[in-house]
């Protein structure tokens, strides 16, 4: 299919330069910091792998990583099936298709801090629509600035609100690419709705769902702005996810060494898990 052509390198050169500038130089900086110690005023001392050891042993990092994994797992478990269900029940043609798509895509295009701010306003106990409804109408005690559980539920709900549409769009793209003959053949073969889903729709969505899981994994693992604006990582440390913790260390305490070491560990975990996902989900492709 593809011809061997060294000219390919010439074509990818601009991309290479731009991404390398953005990825390699900062990465070098991070690596550099991660093995040094500083007391401010631009004096650095060699620290070896101390920071890495310290972080890998630190309770705080374990806690943040645990919260991060719990968060990512929860949103994947909710968003992927929910997105598939919504995509399955969407109309395939007619005037409602663009209406649905435009309305559903809307949350994806709202700046992330606005998402956080919007949910903040939405959930204020006395004056937010959700907060008011829960507290004053349904009589449920809800205040996410005090209750860690409420904060967790709110952060998860916000992420479901924000990103399920991406899964819907992807799953829908997979669904509409199934030729009608498949459904007709299944009808003739007497397949039940479940069989149609299990043996036609799901296999045909396999590819786009791989993309959906990968994207949602990467983006939820890197999430910072929305929960930070919504809860500030609190109450206490209850919603302090990895990125929030990292920024707290790096900018709040200006501990560049540990922050850099933490960045590298964090990046390595993200890469490793992405690679595992990628390998698992593309395993039986060939």
């Amino acid at each position: 299919m593809r011809t061997h052509n060294p000219r390919g390198w010439l074509f990818v050169l601009p991309v290479l330069v731009l991404v390398a500038f953005n990825a390699l130089i900062p990465l070098m900086t991070v690596v550099n910091y991660s093995v040094q110690e500083t007391f401010g005023n631009n004096q650095f001392f060699w620290a070896g792998l101390r920071w890495f050891e310290e972080i890998l042993r630190s309770e705080r990092f374990h806690a943040a990583l645990g919260r991060q994994l719990l968060f990512t797992a929860t949103i994947l478990v909710i968003e992927i099936p929910l997105g598939v269900i919504i995509a399955l029940s969407m109309p395939r043609h007619g005037i409602w298709v663009p209406v649905c798509l435009v309305l559903m895509a809307l949350p994806l295009l709202i700046p992330w801090n606005v998402v956080g701010a919007m949910w903040n306003i939405f959930t204020l106990p006395k004056i937010g629509l959700l907060g008011y409804t829960l507290n004053s109408v349904l009589g449920i005690d809800y205040n996410m600035t005090q209750s860690p559980t409420a904060a967790w539920v709110t952060v998860i709900t916000m992420d479901v609100w924000h990103w399920t549409s991406l899964v819907v769009l992807l799953a829908y793209a997979g669904l509409i690419s199934i030729p009608p003959a498949y459904y007709q053949a299944a009808k003739i073969d007497g397949a039940s709705n479940w069989s149609v889903f299990r043996y036609i729709q799901l296999p045909k969505m396999n590819r786009v769902l791989t993309i959906a899981v990968l994207l949602r994994f990467m983006d939820s693992f890197n999430i910072y702005t929305e929960p930070f604006v919504l809860t500030g990582g609190g109450p206490g440390n209850s919603t302090t996810l990895l990125s929030i913790d990292l920024v707290k260390v790096a900018l709040g305490q200006f501990d560049l060494g540990p922050a850099a070491a933490m960045s590298l560990i964090y990046f390595a975990i993200a890469l490793a898990v992405s690679w595992i996902f990628y390998a698992l989900m593309t395993r039986d492709r060939q």
Partner: protein
């Protein structure tokens, strides 16, 4: 297995059809007997796939009825009709093995697993798939996938009819021939009613006992391959079938016969009408190059193996001739003779000469 009757079927894809233009099918009347092999032949957009989908129950006709063994099935869903259909592109369940694909329609109907196993193995060996039963169906070649599609219809012992919607479209030319003869063989072995939709005349004529030629949503002619070739009822059929198609030549009606560019032409029999736009139809196979007759000029020649196709110019009309002799030089003046028993008269496109001895 069943006899299939279509009564005054019409179908429109518009909710409120007004003119005849809105109809994809118009007034289809057909009767197919049990165990026959039929082909629906026509160009793209002639309505043959619509007709097929109505028979299989994927479409509800706007008007008319579909009867299987005198039982009205017009509004029954496909799975209640006991039919099978093979589509243009092979439809297989990617994640299943070949075996599971073949067993799928039986399992859905709650058939006993021992019987399933027996049926699947029997059909697989008939289709020469037995060595590949445990492979994943997604990894097979298009022709094997299409065999699986067929197999899913064949495993069921309650099938009334198997329908093929241009099943060889994605198959490589050399395999087309193999699969076609496999189909023919299957039909002879299990004598199931089969309906084959195609726009390829070779496929239709080699497969079917009876061919239904369609154009613009209507049936133009129903007949055996020989009948369609020998005596097309409409100029469309004459032109569509045969390679090259029938010569359709404008003629004038004179007192006692017809004239083609001033040359009197003998017909197979007497004309049945005196009005209309008249044409004669004659197959290139039945035009002879002679020393006397209608003068013509050689415009083009093409070698098609054992024969030569000569395109000759008579006035403004061109006449195709299939000749077995050596090809004449371009621009040469020759004479043509039409064999009277094979010369048909058409008025406004429809046949208008009485069938003689031919």
């Amino acid at each position: 297995m069943a006899e299939i009757v279509l009564e005054r079927l019409s179908h429109s894809y518009f909710p409120n059809p007004s003119s005849t233009r809105d109809y994809a099918l118009r007034n289809i009347e057909l009767k197919w007997s049990d165990g026959g092999a039929y082909a629906l032949l026509g160009p793209s957009g002639c309505g043959k796939s619509t007709l097929l989908n109505i028979i299989s129950g994927l479409l509800n006709p706007t008007e008319g009825r579909v009867l299987f063994d005198k039982k009205d099935v017009t509004h029954l869903p496909p799975d209640k009709r006991n039919i099978a259909q093979v589509f243009q592109f092979p439809v297989i369940y990617d994640t299943m093995t070949v075996y599971d694909n073949l067993a799928f329609p039986l399992r859905n109907r709650g058939v006993d697993s021992q019987f399933i196993d027996q049926r699947v193995r029997a059909i697989a060996s008939m289709l020469e798939l037995d060595s590949r039963l445990s492979l994943r169906a997604a990894n097979l070649a298009p022709d094997d996938k299409q065999k699986i599609s067929m197999g899913r219809g064949l495993v069921r012992d309650d099938v009334n009819v198997i329908m093929f919607d241009e099943p060889l479209t994605v198959i490589d030319p050399e395999l087309k021939w193999k699969l076609r003869s496999k189909l023919k063989e299957l039909h002879q072995n299990i004598s199931l009613t089969m309906i084959y939709v195609t726009h390829d005349q070779t496929e239709a004529l080699t497969f079917a006992d009876e061919v239904i030629v369609m154009q613009d949503g209507e049936i133009v002619q129903v007949g055996t391959p020989i009948e369609l070739f020998e005596r097309p009822l409409h100029t469309f059929v004459g032109h569509f079938i045969g390679s090259p198609g029938m010569n359709i030549l404008p003629v004038e009606m004179t007192g006692n016969g017809v004239c083609f560019h001033g040359h009197p032409v003998a017909l197979e029999g007497t004309a049945t009408t005196k009005t209309g736009k008249f044409e004669i139809g004659i197959r290139p196979e039945f035009v002879k190059v002679c020393s006397s007759g209608i003068p013509a000029k050689v415009h083009k020649t093409a070698d098609i193996g054992r024969h030569t196709v000569i395109e000759a110019q008579v006035g403004v009309s061109s006449v195709n001739v299939i000749s077995s002799g050596p090809p004449p030089a371009l621009g040469a003046h020759i004479h043509l003779e039409f064999i009277p028993e094979h010369t048909r008269l058409y008025a406004d496109g429809w046949i208008a000469s009485e069938g003689g001895s031919g």
